[in-house]
Amino acid sequence: MTATEGLVGLVFISHSSKIADGLLDLATQMAPQTRMVPAGGTDDGGIGTSFTKVVSGIAQADAGAGVVLLCDLGSAILTAETALDFLGDAARARVRIVDAPLVEGGVAAAAAAEIGGDIESVVRAAQSAAGAVSAAGAEPALPPVVTRTVTLVNKDGLHARPAADFVKLANTFEARVTVNGRDASSLLAVMSLGLIRGMTAKISSSDEAGAAAVAALGDLLESGFGEE
């Protein structure tokens, strides 16, 4: 865990320590600089949720920009809400509990935090996970005016870290860009394309101002992300 000031932190609250720890591994691939703390299982390592782990997780994840808590089943949410009751007013104001699928929401939140999103945008990213594939995948209303088609050359294709890098870059541009019709700024939308090596990615924008973004994203895909 690399601590970076100014990034929103995350706490993964699960009944199972393996789920929370595994999600940390997965999300770290997308967000190596974001403070993320697993809070899985009871204090004695059983199945359940630990108030103590949640409270200390919030403290560890809080670098000042706020903390988003992602929970699995029922009592994880109750434990998180109870933990909030015990925080001071100032700390509580920086914490949000998100009701979203834990894995998809956690990964989306991690990607949003990593690119420096504020707490509300991290919350929105996590919430988008529930309907990511259908909602974020809508075709743009306007016909594309800039398009570039690139063949994926790297080992993993548009998955995991390369997908996160791609989305991070897309988020640095104002213009809306799509990849194969999906929102290029949404990690889950991009990953749901399932693009692997040898497949083609069509990067488009309906906005003249998106030309720079399309060029930069195409260059990134052609670069192979530094992979084999």
Binding site: I47, G48, T49, S50, T52, L73, S75, L78, T82
Partner: protein, 212 residues
Amino acid sequence: MKLDGTWAKAWIRTSAAVMNEHRVELIDLDREIGDGDHGENMDRGFQAVLLKLDDLSSEANPGDVFKLVATTLISTVGGAAGPLYGTAFLKAAVAITGSADLDGAALVAFLAAARDGIVLRGKAEPGDKTMVDAWTPAVDAAEAARADGANDLAILMAAAAAAEAGAEATEPWVARKGRASYLGERAIGHRDPGAQSSALLLRAAADTAATA
């Protein structure tokens, strides 16, 4: 009989014994319609409370005792019951802060605050097949008993009997909250384990008052 700090400690000690004694029963109820850990969790939580009760000063008033119960259950129970009972005891303790022994009004306020804490945390309504279905009739019965001029013991007896009837009444229902709600009609015919542990807890309160 006074509902003072000594009663509060005795109630909690009795509850710990009762949760231990009914551990398997609660596990079995929870296995039918939940994840099967309720008996284990309640037993672990109350055993942890037992260890801490001795650290309290002999001057501790009921509010002090219940605050300790609240924080210990929250951090040791592990399932939904931890935040739910923890919040109940916490809100109930706040409702009687500073009082050395509870009169009828304080007792009713205590029970109502506990129920409100559970509702606040779990957002369940009567009829959802949860511990609220034991607590709400218990609070109503306690209020009615007090209005009839009953003493503390009779108020607690009325609350305990109503909680037991409330727990039993959950048997034919479909659950609308918690893990049991995933089961749909398969929850029918099974008593809610949280309502049952609530009834056990309130019966322990009445029994302790009766022998004090």
